[in-house]
């Protein structure tokens, strides 16, 4: 029997090529989107899954409730791990993890800038390291031991055995390679290639007392038993820090599940939001494709009426017909899945480029995705086929003989089209908003120049000879200005502190300010405006203990006349700069405290002319290497760093827009199919109307009006839904575009134009037919 059904299904596909093409195209495109979205989601969900203990690991986070509703940070003081382990017997393991940033690593004559990570030995038992050379037990039992990754071993030592080889860090400290571990996966958030004992950190930060309770900069990880009641444990540790940390600022502690590190931002949002958004788009797309199938199948019911009537007369039960039609739709879906797999494989490269992923072909056929997609396809097939199956199987032989109408309920079809259009309009609306937000972020005036600013990290030698270097660099006509600073402007400050002592603060208020250093010529280099007082100048030796604030800080401190006010009882305010976005646009402009402390200068920023960058960079390189020959010259342009900062937002935006456009496209082809059907069904009517004197325009209007009405209804329903969704999404950004009335009008217009374009061709074709042709079918 199934064979007979499949035969009929195949013949129907071949006989009605146009409709089959529409159904197959929409199901295929729909499934391609679902495959690609599944790959993306799977990739995001797989992040850090390589760590076998991931279910039992937690990160201790700081909850700062001083301001507003509280903000969470993933940082803890260094002594915390050890004391917590002693205090709570539930803790199986505890370890510290500190991302030490980029350092110069040298072996023989090769020097590269590499990311160095400081860890406790217990981290090796918590995270999963696959040891290729050396033993876990002895890998970090010596402060001069260093664990390197496989790719680093190859980079520095080629085919030689890397064990016991020496690596010199910052031309200062010698480390012996004690082990080689397998590289972490590409998408891992633990992307370091060098691991050294936490204790060695002090060596690299001589100015800082690393082991104090006030140094909130370390990640602390805990391993807890599987059955632990996290809620109860969180209660236990909430005020644990109080006994060690007795400052007026009272932080509390909380745990964040290791599996949430990548997916959920501690303060809300995160990748999970996009997983839901893309998941929702996948569902939208499949529903749209299913609606196409339902609409076309029921619309074409009249064509199949005879077959159904005859089958019933020959003894077919309703059930067997339902099975037949469901077999057909499932058959088509599976056929579409096969094509979709091919298309997805062909598109994978492009998809990787758009999404910034590195998914390879083998993932397409992994043991999770294949069965999942097969189930999704089955459900799609059953869903798409359900209404037509039950509707068609209920057609009676008498209806067929009497030639009664068997084209399904027009009301239901209208509801389905409206539903489809609501989804499309929501997507159009969202696409416009997402694009506007991307444009806004990419073009927003940050309050400083980020173009043509070259950054290079400071090292010991540059630090020592900075004045000479600056002086020499500024001799070049293509170099405008040179300064040093702690921060990549527009990306982050270096830290924050509470100001509770300032002239005029009589009620003991506290204000959290972000900290940043900036040397003489900082304003000139970045073209930041000064609104009051002056910036640091070399001739004022006391400026090393002075402060410059931004407008937000002046406002937060409520200073009427800020110049001269003493902060922290020692830093007089000498100037106020205009607010600029010193952090990413996801953060509002917060109070900023700029100071001049050589110990906190990390980067040299050089403003160059854009005319001949290659030559200018070459000059900079020569000059710097002349003064600092023992460190490699590496640089980055600030605007490139900005691009990479917003890369993921832009990638997600592009991905979202691509899927939305495909969804809208699927709606369109369904609409073309439906318009064709409607025009065909009304052939006689069109003929009669033309004979009675109707013009082509009247007919086109009549045919299009049906759809226009549906589009208008859909807009009215879709707008508030889209507005709510986009409003919620925009809340992730401190700086955001507004959802203006133009977006409503534009999405309405686009949906109307798209619908009209889909319909008008068929309408015109029907309206310009010779009326005799129309009536000949009767």
């Amino acid at each position: 029997m199934i064979k007979n059904y499949l035969k009929i299904a195949m013949r129907n596909i071949l006989r009605y090529k146009g409709y089959s093409a529409i159904n197959l195209a929409s199901l295929t495109i729909g499934l391609v989107c679902v495959i690609l979205i599944s790959l993306w989601i799977q990739d995001e969900l797989s992040v850090n899954k390589n760590h076998k203990n991931s279910k039992n690991l937690y990160r201790v986070i700081l909850v700062d409730k001083t301001y507003d509703k509280g903000k969470k940070y993933p940082v803890t003081p260094p002594p915390l791990a050890e004391v917590m382990k002693e205090s709570f017997p539930e803790i199986q393991k505890a370890g510290r993890y500190y991302d030490g940033g980029y350092q110069f690593v040298k072996s023989d004559n090769i020097v590269f800038k590499e990311k160095l990570t400081y860890i406790d030995e217990e981290i090796l038992d918590m995270l999963t390291f696959e040891f290729l050379h050396g033993e876990k037990t002895s890998a970090l039992n010596d402060p001069s031991s260093i664990i390197i990754s496989e790719k680093i071993a190859e980079k520095y030592f080629g085919n030689e055995n890397p064990l016991n080889k020496t690596l010199v860090i910052n031309n200062q400290e010698n480390f012996k390679v004690s082990a080689v571990v397998k590289d972490f996966p590409n998408n891992s958030t633990f992307s370091s290639d060098f691991f050294v004992l936490f204790e060695t950190r002090q060596t690299f930060s001589p100015y800082e007392n690393v082991e104090t309770w006030i140094n909130w900069s370390i990640n602390t990880y805990l391993m807890l038993p599987e059955n632990i009641d996290i809620k109860a444990f969180n209660e236990k540790i909430r005020h644990y820090i109080d006994q060690y940390y007795t400052y007026t600022w009272q932080p509390t502690l909380e745990l964040q599940a290791f599996e949430d590190l990548h997916l959920r931002d501690m303060n809300g949002g995160g990748v999970i939001v996009y997983i839901y958004i893309f998941g929702l788009i996948a569902i939208f797309i499949l529903v749209i494709a299913c609606i196409n199938y339902m609409n076309l199948a029921t619309a074409r019911a009249s064509l199949r009426g005879k077959e159904i009537g005859l089958r019933k007369v020959s003894g077919a039960s309703k059930k067997s017909l339902v099975v037949q039609f469901l077999t057909e739709s499932v058959f088509q879906s599976i056929f579409a899945l096969v094509i979709a797999y091919l298309v997805a494989a062909l598109m994978l490269q492009t998809f990787n480029e758009i999404s910034g992923k590195a998914i390879n072909y083998s993932v397409l056929f992994n043991s999770v995705l294949v069965p999942l997609l097969f189930i999704i396809t089955l459900i799609t097939g059953l869903l798409a086929g359900s209404y037509p199956a039950f509707y068609l199987s209920s057609i009676t032989p008498v209806q067929v003989i009497k030639n009664a109408k068997t084209t399904g309920s027009p009301l239901l079809r209208r509801i389905l089209v409206i539903f489809q259009f609501i989804l499309s309009i929501v997507l159009i609306f969202s696409t416009i908003t997402v694009s506007r937000q991307m444009k806004y972020i990419n073009n927003k005036d940050l309050g400083f120049d980020k173009e043509n600013i070259l950054y290079c990290s400071l090292n010991r030698e540059i630090n020592e000879k900075y004045d000479l270097i600056k002086n020499e660099l500024e001799q070049y006509p293509d170099i405008n200005s040179v300064c040093v600073t702690s921060s990549h402007l527009g990306i982050h400050a270096i830290g924050s502190a509470d100001i509770d002592e300032w002239t005029g603060n009589d009620d003991g208020r506290k204000v959290l300010v972000n900290m940043m250093t900036g040397s003489y010529d900082f304003l000139k280099t970045f073209n930041i405006s000064l609104v009051a007082g002056r910036f640091f100048e070399k001739k004022f030796t006391t400026d090393t203990a002075a402060a410059v604030l931004n407008e937000a800080a002046v406002k937060a401190l409520n200073l009427k006349d800020p110049i001269g006010v003493k902060l922290f009882n020692q830093y007089p305010v000498i100037g106020v700069v205009k607010d600029f976005n010193f952090e990413s646009l996801q953060e509002p402009i917060e109070p900023l405290f700029i100071f001049l402390d050589p110990r906190d200068m990390l980067h040299m920023a050089i403003k160059i002319n854009s005319e001949n960058p290659t030559e200018t960079i070459e000059n900079i390189k020569t000059t710097i290497l002349n003064f600092a020959p023992n460190f490699p010259f590496e640089y980055q342009f600030l605007d490139d760093q900005h691009k990479s900062l917003y890369k993921s937002v832009n990638q997600l935006g592009k991905l979202f827009n691509s899927f939305s456009i495909l969804a809208i496209f699927i709606s369109c082809i369904g609409l073309i199919g439906l318009a064709t059907f409607m025009a065909q069904r009304r052939t006689k009517e069109i003929g009669v109307r033309k004979i009675l004197g109707s013009s082509v325009r009247n007919i086109v209007m009549m045919l299009s009006l049906d759809f226009i009405k549906l589009v208008i209804i859909s807009n009215v329903i879709a707008w508030p839904i889209a507005w709510l969704m986009m409003n919620k999404w925009l809340q992730n950004f401190a700086f955001k575009t507004n959802i203006s009335w133009k977006i409503f009008v534009l999405s309405g217009m686009i949906s109307l134009i798209v619908a009209m374009l889909s319909v008008i061709f068929q309408a015109l074709k029907a309206a310009t037919n010779n009326p005799i042709e129309s009536l000949r079918y009767e």
Partner: protein, 234 residues
């Protein structure tokens, strides 16, 4: 009978071309209908009667020859010009009624008046009058499918006459009706003709052709005989 020519064709030709063959449906037909006449066109299937009627009704255009309607040569008219002339002068009655299923009886009859941009009040008046003439007022809110074949054809006739056309073209108006209903339709047409409407009717039935004053026989696209009745029906 007035001697004014309402329709006159001179060497009228209509050919249909498919990919391989060219069919001559109307072959140099010279045919005249005078105002107030009732003409029946007869002939075997495929002889070109419906094609001729369609050209006369301006819903199809000739391939060659001339066609004068009310002394205006219209064979080269555009579709728009023909539509304009058609809607003011010609009413159609088809074998399969061709009522629009989605519209009620009243709306179907009213349709030609809408396309003539006649005011709503006048439309109502004329529609009800036409329905009344056809005894269909009581069914005005029904849909075509709720009516019998005879009733549907009466609605179609009401629609054909509502705009008060000079000419009614009827393509096998009784073809889908039983003899009783067929005769009823023929009586209506005769009555309209008596009131001055020119009627050209295609039919297979000699008995219904008998209602006409003149019968034209077509064969292979040519007029073979033309019989003028000696005695007009009263």
């Amino acid at each position: 009978m007035s001697q004014k020519e309402l329709i006159k064709t001179v060497d009228l030709i209509k050919t249909y071309r498919t990919e391989e063959i060219e069919t001559l449906a109307v072959n140099k037909v010279n045919f005249t209908v005078y105002e107030g006449e009732f003409v029946a066109i007869m002939g075997p299937s495929g002889c070109g009667k419906s094609t001729l009627l369609n050209i006369i009704g301006m819903i199809d255009s000739p391939t060659g020859g001339e066609y004068f309607f009310n002394d205006i040569e219209i064979s080269k008219f555009s579709e728009k010009q023909r539509a304009n002339l058609r809607k003011h002068n010609i009413g159609f009655i088809f074998q399969s009624f061709n009522l629009i299923d989605e519209l009620t009886v009243y709306e179907n009859v009213e349709l030609p008046l809408i396309y003539q941009k006649i005011s709503a009040t006048e439309r109502k008046e004329r529609t009800l009058k036409a329905l009344d003439q056809m005894n269909m007022t009581h069914r005005k809110n029904h849909f075509p499918q709720q009516l019998s074949g005879g009733q549907q054809q009466r609605v179609a006739v009401a629609r054909a006459i509502v705009a008060d056309p000079k000419l009614i073209l009827a393509d096998e108006p009784t073809g889908n009706l039983d003899s009783e209903h067929g005769e009823e339709v023929m009586d209506i047409l005769t009555e309209l003709n008596d009131k001055g409407t020119t009627i050209v009717m295609v039919t297979h039935s000699p008995s219904f052709a008998d209602y006409a004053q003149r019968v034209v026989h077509l064969f292979d696209g040519n007029i073979v005989t033309e019989n003028m009745k000696e005695k007009f029906r009263v």
